[in-house]
């Protein structure tokens, strides 16, 4: 079967910094954290934790009032990101001949916030019934359905829920459909809103969330550092347009990069204790799928959540795969700045990786220094401050989820 090359022609996100894509990448490269302290007014116990929000996001402005009112926040963030990616790709919002174009979306939580609103009304406010829109606001496929409707995409419209690997898998599955020729264009990415009260409390109970107050929250997420205290949750939406290479060239589209490979595996051993062997299998599969060798990889955007358990296992997996080359392998975890977007994590990190290749600039792991680097995380070339003007040929983006599900995406730079 003839395999098509797959171009990335559109990138879009709702930036936690409030600006555009260029601003997002510039701030990542400056090592600037988007993490703030979140304090809610929930009674009797408010949420008080480091968090990455998108406070500047105006759903009515981004989507129009009638559409925004039909959506839960996860779908609003997702659709806004999708519109941004679509516009970036230079594709008109409406168009014909899109019956085989589709959407593959990632979300870990879907419309949990909509259901939680219902619980609050029923249990806290003593109401007898909830909005008739609750089902269509809350369903996990709400974001991809809205995107398909708004952009007139008549092909597959699906959501993937694989915890922290949701959108990496969504992107990988979209990539396969374009490569096989089933779809000329796929809109893909992810969105999530983990500030639902019950969800945030559940994460707290797992004892994997980093603590922080008004002063310390910006530095709360410290992947690979010896003093790391855990992950920081964040809301957001990030989207990519994947397109048949020839189609993209024919219409004169700007090609940000090439998505070349996708590998998935399951540790099949434990729900929350990651295992290097499973991660190595996903990494190997992604490389083989892309026709790349370890020597071709000039950057790895790590899963790097800053948990005690996760970080050393990921470094061990990279060392196992890259062997003697690992010490020269540039690795960074941008979660140190944009936080952990759960079902949108793979998508926002894919964008960071593609921009790194395009701009020949590697964003750093914020708050990491030679002095605080964990002994158990040594053995790769940790990027402590941005590296500019470094020609990069290919890069990987790792997403390793609870449940042991692993997904790795491989990207190639476009020579210019």
């Amino acid at each position: 079967m003839v395999q098509r090359r797959v171009a990335i022609t559109g990138l879009g996100l709702v930036s936690p910094y409030g600006g555009d894509l260029a601003d997002f990448f510039a701030r990542l490269c400056a090592g600037e954290s988007a993490i703030r302290h979140l304090q809610t007014d929930d009674r009797p116990r408010p949420l008080s934790m480091p968090f990455v929000g998108c406070p500047g996001f105006d759903p009515d402005a981004a989507l129009g009032r009638p559409l925004a009112a039909m959506m839960d926040r996860f779908a609003q963030l997702g659709t806004a990101a999708a519109f941004a990616a679509w516009d970036d790709a230079g594709l008109p919002r409406a168009g014909d001949g899109r019956d085989a174009w589709g959407v593959s979306w990632g979300t870990a939580l879907g419309g949990t916030l909509a259901y939680e609103k219902g619980y609050r009304e029923l249990w806290q406010q003593g109401r007898e019934r909830i909005s008739p829109l609750s089902v269509v606001l809350g369903m996990n496929n709400a974001a991809n359905s809205h995107i398909s409707i708004q952009l007139g995409l008549g092909g597959v419209s699906m959501s993937h829920t694989v915890a922290c690997a949701s959108s990496a898998i969504a992107i990988g599955e979209a990539f396969r459909r374009v490569r096989s020729g089933e779809a000329t264009v796929m809109l893909t990415g992810g969105s999530d809103v983990p500030q639902a009260y019950g969800v945030a409390r559940a994460w707290e109970a797992l004892r994997v969330l980093a603590p922080g107050d008004e002063q310390s929250s910006a530095q709360a997420c410290r992947p690979f550092a010896a003093d790391r205290r855990g992950l920081v949750l964040g809301e957001g939406g990030a989207a990519l347009v994947l397109e048949d290479w020839d189609h993209a060239v024919a219409r004169g589209a700007r090609i940000h990069g090439e998505i070349a490979g996708y590998g998935t595996s399951c540790d099949h051993s434990h729900l929350v204790r990651p295992e290097a062997a499973g991660q190595v299998r996903a990494l190997r599969l992604a490389l083989a799928d892309a026709g790349l060798d370890t020597a071709d990889i000039d950057y790895v955007n790590a899963h790097g959540t800053a948990t005690a358990e996760g970080d050393p296992v990921e470094i061990a997996a990279l060392k196992q795969l890259f062997g003697d080359g690992a010490v020269q392998l540039p690795v960074s975890a941008t979660k140190s700045m944009h936080g952990h977007l759960l079902g949108a994590a793979g998508a926002i990190e894919a964008i960071a990786t593609v921009l790194a290749l395009r701009e020949a600039t590697i964003p750093p792991t914020a708050h990491l220094t030679d002095d605080n680097l964990d002994l158990g995380c040594r053995g790769v070339d940790h990027v402590l401050t941005a590296r500019r003007d470094v020609p990069l040929r290919a890069a990987l983006s790792n997403s390793f989820a609870f449940g042991g599900s692993n997904a790795v995406l491989a990207f190639r730079a476009v020579p210019r």
Binding site: R65, P66, A69, R129, S131, P132, L133, V136
Partner: protein, 77 residues
């Protein structure tokens, strides 16, 4: 507030519809009221006036039909 006032307020809030377009002879579908929005409008009305529309209700076609249905229920309260 009367029934037509509630319909006007609802449509202005949700769809940005100018209140002067929401006249008795206006067709609801023509104003952009689809089945989901109709469910919400009915929900809002029931909430506001403390009444319950019958489950076997035939969907009203115009603003006027909707308003008189609501007015009837309010008067029977």
């Amino acid at each position: 507030m009367n029934s037509i006032g509630l319909i006007r307020e609802f449509l202005q809030n949700r769809l940005g519809t100018a209140p002067e377009r929401v006249v008795p002879e206006a067709v609801l579908a023509g104003l952009g009221v689809d089945s989901l929005l109709m469910l919400e409008l009915v929900f809002e009305f029931e909430d506001r006036f403390g009444v319950k529309l019958p489950g076997d209700l035939t969907s009203p076609r115009t603003v006027g039909e909707m308003a008189s249905l609501m007015d009837n229920l309010i008067s029977q309260r």
